[in-house]
Symmetry: C2
Subunit: 421 residues, 2 copies
């Protein structure tokens, strides 16, 4: 058996993606399986059923993360892979699901290949509430898994109807007994490595005609709420020189944010997608405005420089327009860098399998960024048609899905044969 | 009797302003007497009572405009003055009311001065629904008065609860029998002249330390709704070069509108006070935006130039950002120019009385702009503290109120002694 020639079964993978997408089917090509709803339970039951059919050891932990392990020749720490199967309200069929079902396919391929056992165990996981659409924050399950939040805290999170996460976890039968393997107070060893296959959710791979993304990390993110207080005035009777126009000041921030992205360059993105004027009337100079600036960069230094440039502009517009400006950070995460050895392995494996490959950072958050806290981690991206995600129109061409799963399989085989890093 | 030395009675004017402001008192210094409500009736009854106390001939016309005439030595066409006594929902105590009560004061001063009769009759008027807050359009009563709308059309206007203007006019007892004097189909002669005293509702007089404004006309107004369609996208995963950001395009319009005001200069004002993004979420590039551009100028040519510059920018941003831009005119009125002879008379009269005076255009609409269609017309402005209006904080210093009323008195005396223009 030449392990390097192992390939997954495309029909089986595509069939399972299809079957899982039928649960919570929104009728427009999309999927709605919000975390810990009946639809999520049904999806979990289907996937756990497939895990048990393969004879895997299935462990459910205290926040409902599910890990199914295929034994190795040794009992050393496993190579883990997976993602999530919960979706946003207007979700697609691939976000999360691909990583879990391709992981299952990796194990079935190994198992079917005359019961190949690698040096290390391999394990496919799906993590609870990655989307955070019902229960904040997002990536909650993997955050608890690595010890970033206690199970008790997680259980007390409530959805917008006041329902406790812990109660719904028990209700759907996924309040498991297993502790999490992260740092104290969670005991247990971390995996040897973690690899997540995911759709890109952006347009870069499709636009550049590249099939595989070797993900270098997750962008740092900076969300700043800006509140501007000016003077509400009659738009007809107030001369231009007398104005303290909060709407104008807000627009200037939006324009400046675009400029800042250009000045920083590289991976810098910067967006004002949320802006509200008050009183928001045609013939009244806006007395106040609120907007949120979303800036992301893979380099912490550049992200900090973008934040400084934003603050400089806020000071300038405050002075020139005579408005009061207050800011409040709504979110701030430093960039996450994946393990160079895993990135390199993804890249070389894709090349060996004849696929075009590009290193790129993720603009969205993923369970892998949590696992990166406790073990060498990497991700594999496949193209998203039109860059769409969190949208019923989310689509990835089947050859790309299969290519991503084959790269995952070969990366896992390589890692699971290693005695040490 | 030297008519040039006649002055109004300050205590009586301020007392009447106070008494009228008690009807619809909002408790915060403001006033709410929306057109044709019970509060409006109460205000009308109070003012009509004062008119009758002076022995004036009171005529109510078919849309509830009230004209009270003090006879002259001849039966020639009268010199008319006045304003309105309806308010916006969050109105002040001076907008409109000052012009009506100062007009009453003019007549009482003439009448008290040993029954002075001038060559022409003089008449004080208040027009129905100047604010348009309940029944659109604004200046409805004076519009009908000059024949710009038929009484039947006006009666069929409904408020947001579906109540007919004609029905509420009858309900409060102000559906009068008199026809309006405007052009056909309304018979009757137009006044010899019309003069309206009003608070400025802007900051110019206060800022320049000038007591009297000789109003040259009313700015032309151009309201343009702009709808922008781009592409909604993930703010983290969509590179800057791939964006079709409707929010950015909208902000660029707001910024360009400010620049246009500067480039046109003169009386040009330009505002974006109303702007809405969709979906208006921090981490989503806006897929669409709607905003309204308010541009005003006293010169029609300059206003048209501003409109052209706006359209040029919309074409440019549509091309550079890859967004679709649609526009729709929401309002478009050419500038109104008052009669130079009346403007000059206001200016020279103010100077004669020892007041600083400045020519300026009105940024807001007034009944006088309707009367200007049928007779030589002018306006007198007095300062608004902080430029505030349509606001409970609306305030004009009593010496300014009195000065404005004295200028009105002397302008009326001058006009009413004229045999012809």
């Amino acid at each position: 058996m030449n392990l390097a020639e192992l390939r997954i079964n495309p029909e089986r993978l595509l069939g399972r993606l299809e079957a899982l997408a039928e649960i919570g089917d929104t009728g427009d090509g999309g999927c709605c399986r919000l975390a810990l709803t009946d639809e999520d339970r049904e999806g979990r039951d289907l996937v756990v059923g497939w895990m048990r059919d393969l004879g895997l050891e299935v462990v459910v932990d205290v926040v409902g993360n599910v890990v199914a392990t295929y034994p190795g020749q040794t009992g050393e720490t496993p190579v883990m892979f997976g993602s999530h199967i919960d979706t946003v309200r207007t979700g697609g069929r691939y976000d999360g699901n691909l990583g879990v079902l391709a992981g299952l396919e990796v194990i079935e391929t190994l198992s079917a290949a005359a019961g190949v056992a690698l040096h290390r165990p391999v394990a496919v996981a799906f993590f609870t509430d990655e989307e955070g659409s019902r229960f904040p924050p997002d990536m909650l399950g993997s955050l608890v898994y690595v010890g970033g939040m206690t199970a008790e805290e997680a259980h007390d999170v409530r959805d917008s109807d006041g329902i406790r996460l812990g109660d719904d976890l028990a209700r759907i039968g996924y309040l498991g007994p297993a502790p999490c393997p992260g740092p104290a107070p969670c005991p247990g060893p971390a995996p040897f490595a973690f690899v997540e296959l995911h759709i890109e959710q952006g347009p870069v791979l499709e636009h550049e005609g590249v099939r595989i993304g070797a993900v270098t990390g997750v962008q740092g993110i900076s969300w700043t709420e800006v509140r501007i207080a000016g003077q509400s005035n009659h738009a007809g009777t107030t001369p231009m020189g007398h104005r303290r126009d909060a709407g104008y000041a807000a627009a200037s921030v939006s324009m400046r944010v675009r400029e800042i992205a250009g000045e920083i360059g590289g991976t810098q993105v910067a967006t004002v997608g949320e802006m509200d004027l008050h009183p928001d009337l045609v013939n009244v100079v806006a007395g106040s405005a609120r907007l949120v600036v979303d800036m992301r960069n893979t380099l912490e230094g550049d992200l900090q420089r973008a934040e400084r440039l934003l603050n400089e502009h806020l000071g300038q517009i405050s002075a020139s327009e005579g408005v009061e400006v207050e800011t409040r950070p709504l979110a701030r995460f430093e960039p996450v860098y994946f393990d160079e050895r895993v990135i390199e392995l993804v890249q070389s494996t894709a090349q060996r399998l004849g696929h075009s490959v590009k290193r790129l950072a993720s603009g969205a958050g993923h369970d892998a960024q949590m696992l990166a806290r406790v073990c060498p981690t990497g991700m594999i991206f496949v193209p998203s048609v039109n860059g769409l995600s969190h949208n019923p129109g989310e689509f990835t061409e089947p050859p790309d899905l299969v290519a991503g799963a084959d790269v995952l399989l070969q990366v896992v085989v390589d890692l699971a044969q290693r005695k040490a890093w």
